[in-house]
């Protein structure tokens, strides 16, 4: 999914910077009002948190962002879920079978919606068909495409009923594939695959999931309160089939602020249980003696070039010049300066799984060393090819978080000093940036991608010519061929060999320039245990957490 810098700054994207400070001060006042607000309350098994932003929607068919994913992971349950250690575990489905042509799921009869009705296979069929309908306009429709007829349903060529998903009985679901999909089980745990109740969706129509009372739950928690922009509260769902195993009774989120300093102050004052850390807060946290924790978010940050007609960034020599100029290692160690963030050299982060070990261990990436002389040579070549004597200014589209701006200013300096190219920074809020990326209104964009499902393909097909998220419209038949080969194969070795070719191609042809693999640093209340921080299935996950007395 597109990374909205979920824990860093989302609210900030409505108005830049300092409104957040105002908000901080207001928070300081409002925070003193609730009496006995406590980060963790062992007696009532209650945890208090701050949210970076409120979820834009809780409609699982159209949700795309990490905040919605976090809330949905608690209030809904799919066929499969990610367990306490990040492994795939049974959810609504009791058992399943995966073969080359499809998958069968047998649902547990004890699974209930929060109004007591059983969760049936029909709820899944409806949800998936609903998400694929052209009128739903789900940005995640493509994720269903391995299913038979999904692409045709999505483009409106065939009715939704033709989708290769059938409820054999109330408790048996059969999925037919249109192409091999060895990673379908991890797809089934993704939020777009969550079940939906037809009667509730029909009743609320377009307003479904717009408020806390306009949706229904089948997960470990129910959404007890949702005051837009101000407060969310989750309570244990008594109808949940495994309610006894859920230790935390209440997750209260009375603060919505993307400002890491505000969240850190709340944490320091024991108002919230978890707070993210940013560069400026790191020393403060160390000095206060907090335990700083870390996890690799599995997301990749990169510079993407525009390949549309008439864009000079499509020139290969130019891209090579940029590749020799930008040193991810320097960026990570000097500019970002947070431990845990790793320089990236490959399209695939180190967290991507390979045959047995990590993909990157099995197929090491070729590293291109920075070299200014070589970069200038490449640029000279590019100038000669394009017939320029002077390189025209380029537009760098960047996000508006402090870190994104700092990075952009660094690139600006590097381009000017190293290549003599003027780089203009176009700083945009998240939504605007996505829109400009979609329209191709940029020369270079600082973009990011987080994995959707636990398979290498979530990164690999990003720059296939048909992918909507290929914002630069990179179109390389060779790249497409390797992707097709991998998609049509069920053999792991063939797939990973194709992926190794993709990895090589990205280094040699430079459709994107990986910069860093993001890691998140955070502080957590020491009494709170078992909170799962992970790449998939909602982060942070409190489903398996408990409070130590």
């Amino acid at each position: 999914m597109n990374i909205a810098k979920s824990l860093a700054s989302r609210f900030a994207q409505t108005l830049s910077g300092q409104w957040r400070w105002l908000a901080t001060f207001l928070f300081c006042f409002s925070a003193s009002l609730p009496v006995n607000a406590q980060a963790v309350d062992a007696a009532n098994a209650k945890v208090t948190l701050a949210l970076a932003t409120e979820p834009p929607t809780l409609n699982s068919a159209v949700a795309t962002d990490t905040i919605a994913s976090f809330v949905l992971a608690h209030i809904m349950e799919g066929l499969l879920v990610y367990g306490a250690d990040g492994e795939l575990a049974p959810g609504v489905a009791e058992r399943w079978e995966l073969d080359a042509n499809g998958a069968s799921f047998w649902l547990r009869e004890t699974a209930r919606w929060s109004d007591g009705k059983p969760v049936t296979a029909h709820d899944f069929v409806f949800a998936w068909q609903h998400a694929l309908k052209p009128s739903t306009a789900s940005q995640y429709a493509f994720i269903f495409y391995p299913i038979k007829n999904a692409e045709a349903v999505n483009s409106g060529k065939v009715p939704a009923a033709e989708l290769g998903v059938v409820a054999v009985s109330d408790y048996e679901l059969r999925v037919e594939f249109g192409q091999p999909c060895p990673y379908f089980l991890s797809l089934a745990a993704f939020m777009t695959f969550l079940p939906m109740r037809e009667d509730i969706v029909a009743h609320w129509g377009g307003r479904y999931a717009a408020d806390g009372d306009k949706l229904i739950f089948n997960g470990a928690y129910t959404l007890d309160k949702w005051v837009h922009g101000a407060h969310l509260r989750l309570r244990k769902n008594s109808h949940y089939w495994q309610a006894d195993a859920v230790k935390i009774n209440e997750i209260d989120m009375p603060y919505i602020t993307a400002d890491p300093s505000a969240q850190f102050n709340l944490f320091r004052d024991q108002q919230i249980a978890i707070a993210p850390l940013d560069t400026g807060l790191l020393n403060e946290a160390v000095e206060r003696g907090f335990d700083i924790e870390y996890f690799h978010t599995g997301s990749l940050f990169f510079l993407e070039f525009n390949f549309r007609e008439g864009r000079i960034t499509a020139n290969h020599s130019f891209r090579k010049a940029v590749q020799r100029l930008i040193d991810p290692d320097l960026l990570v160690n000097k500019i970002i300066g947070l431990p845990g963030i790793k320089p990236a050299y490959s399209l695939f982060p180190v967290t991507v799984k390979g045959n047995e070990k990590s993909f990157r261990e099995e197929y090491p990436v070729m590293r291109v060393d920075p070299d200014i002389a070589a970069a200038r040579e490449h640029l000279q070549k590019a100038k000669a090819e394009l017939g320029f004597s002077e390189w025209p200014p380029l537009v760098l589209l960047a996000g508006d978080s402090p870190r994104a701006l700092q990075e952009a200013e660094y690139y600006q300096y590097l381009f000017k000093k190293g290549l003599g190219i003027e780089l203009r920074i176009d700083q945009q809020v998240f939504k605007q940036r996505l829109e400009k990326m979609r329209r191709g209104d940029f020369d270079i964009v600082a973009a990011a991608w987080g994995p959707d499902y636990d398979d290498i393909m979530t990164f690999a097909d990003l720059f296939a010519s048909w992918n909507d998220n290929n914002r630069g419209r990179y179109d390389n038949p060779l790249y497409d061929r390797w992707i097709r080969l991998a998609q049509e194969s069920n053999d792991a070795r063939t797939r990973f060999n194709a992926m190794a070719q993709i990895q090589r191609l990205v280094v040699e042809d430079v459709p994107i320039l990986p910069t860093y693999e993001n890691g998140a640093l955070y502080v957590q209340n020491p009494r709170l245990k078992g909170v799962r921080r992970s790449i998939f299935g909602g982060d942070p996950l409190f489903r398996y957490a408990w409070i130590e007395e």
Partner: protein
């Protein structure tokens, strides 16, 4: 005698029967220490932003990557090191005694320690040697060596190796890294020629330290001040001039023109300032990368002129009906001459006072807009934008916010005091008006 409502009415000469005349209040002396001080301050600020860059020839946009967020430093020499990413100790030195530091410079610190039985993963902490505590956990590794490259500076560090499973502290050692710079950076900065193999280079002093991107704060304050003061002077100049002309026309013409003009003024006054400022700046379309000074000035011009228009219009209206103006009109003096001889000398002090108060206001507006990210865009900077940069590192490096904030306060205060003094000075003119 009736006291004229108008301050600068021609003096009635020889009125010896001045029984009502009150002894004039003692006026504050023009050159009070406060005024001198503020005038000096304004002068210093102007010199700081104009002559300063000539004396302190550092580029405000040069990023010293090896000196990120550094404190004040004098010039020193650094060793050029070539770093090629990964490092592992050579096989023959595989089992050092205790925690060994292979190399320690500000580009990388290379640690090597003996493999300890029963420990599978090591966790490396780095802390300030002068402070208690372990410091920051840098990494966890299964190997018995580690290379630290994370924003190293010239302070004394203490490295601690712990068992990652049990948290048991195993080894510790203090080290002060030697100043160094990577060959890549030296080439980028133009300190060594491409392909050159100098071993040492000198890097310049940073009397006020560097910011989060390694830029010299002193040079940035000068560059930022130039923008701030430029906007602070040019914007009021434009909008006061426009307001004066507009108000004068309304006042002189009178009648329906006046009515129409003043209703328009009312309309502009009713526009919420901040909201429209932001809207204008969006509408004027600051393209990516344009510095945004011109749109800022235009936006201020469009929204700020009504105040001075009202002021001048009222004054002109009052002047117009003054007997001495009427007299010269009856005497057949042309309009342009009336404006030149009667109107202008009488409104000029007022304009000056309005102008001197508008400067600090404009500086502040610019700073405020840049602070919320609606002002100038990088690499152009201003004091407000510097504050915006500085607030991100407020907790760790408060200097980066406090210095530009101090300069904004100083300039606003100085201009305000000067404006006050100017107003007092114009008050003392009991006025001979040449007629």
């Amino acid at each position: 005698m009736a006291i004229s409502v108008f301050r600068f009415a021609p003096k009635t000469w020889g009125a010896a029967d001045d029984v009502e005349a009150v002894a004039p209040l003692p006026l504050p002396p023009m050159a009070s220490p406060m005024v001198v001080l503020s005038a000096l301050m304004v002068l210093c600020l102007l010199l700081f932003v104009t002559v300063g860059p000539l004396l302190w020839q550092q580029s405000p946009s040069q990023q010293w990557l090896s000196q990120i967020s550094d404190g004040a430093s004098s010039a020193y020499s650094v060793r050029i090191v070539s770093d090629n990413g990964d490092w592992r100790p050579s096989a023959k030195s595989d089992s050092p005694r205790g925690l060994t530091i292979h190399t320690a410079n500000t580009e990388y610190v290379r640690l090597h320690w003996p493999k300890l039985a029963g420990v599978e993963r090591y966790r490396i902490y780095r802390g300030d040697a002068n402070k208690p505590g372990l410091g920051l956990a840098m990494a966890e590794t299964g190997d018995n060596y580690y290379q630290d490259r994370l924003q190293l500076s010239r302070e004394v560090y203490r490295y601690t190796i712990a068992d990652a499973e049990t948290g048991l502290l195993l080894l510790a050692r203090e080290v002060r890294p030697e100043p160094a710079m990577s060959a890549f950076e030296a080439q980028l900065q133009g300190l060594i020629p491409l392909g050159g193999n100098e071993e040492w280079v000198d890097i310049p002093a940073h009397p006020l330290g560097t910011d989060a991107l390694g830029r010299d704060i002193l040079a940035r304050l000068m560059a930022g001040g130039r923008t701030s003061l430029f906007v602070g002077v040019v914007a009021p100049l434009l909008y006061i001039s426009f307001g004066c002309v507009f108000g004068a026309i309304a006042g002189l013409m009178g009648g329906w023109v006046d009515q129409l003009a003043m209703r328009f003024v009312d309309f502009v006054v009713a526009l919420p300032f901040l909201l429209f400022m932001i809207l204008f700046r969006v509408a004027f379309g600051i393209g990516p990368g344009e510095n945004g000074i011109m749109p800022l000035i235009v936006a201020m011009l469009v929204l700020s002129w009504p105040g001075s228009a009202r002021l001048i219009r009222g004054q002109v209206l009052a002047l117009r009906s003054q007997p001495f103006v009427e007299a010269s009109r009856i005497a057949g003096v042309g309009t342009s001459r009336i404006i030149l001889r009667h109107m202008l000398p009488n409104v000029l002090p007022m304009i000056l006072v309005a102008f001197s108060f508008a400067i600090p206001q404009a500086i502040f507006t610019e700073a405020f807009l840049s602070f919320i990210g609606m002002g100038v865009s990088p690499p152009t900077t201003s004091w407000g934008a510097l504050c915006n940069d500085g607030i991100k590192t407020l907790l760790s490096h408060p200097r980066q916010l406090l210095l530009p904030a101090l300069l904004i306060s100083m300039s606003v205060l100085a201009f305000n005091i000067l404006g006050d003094a100017l107003r007092d000075a114009t008050d003392r003119r009991s006025g001979v008006v040449r007629a």
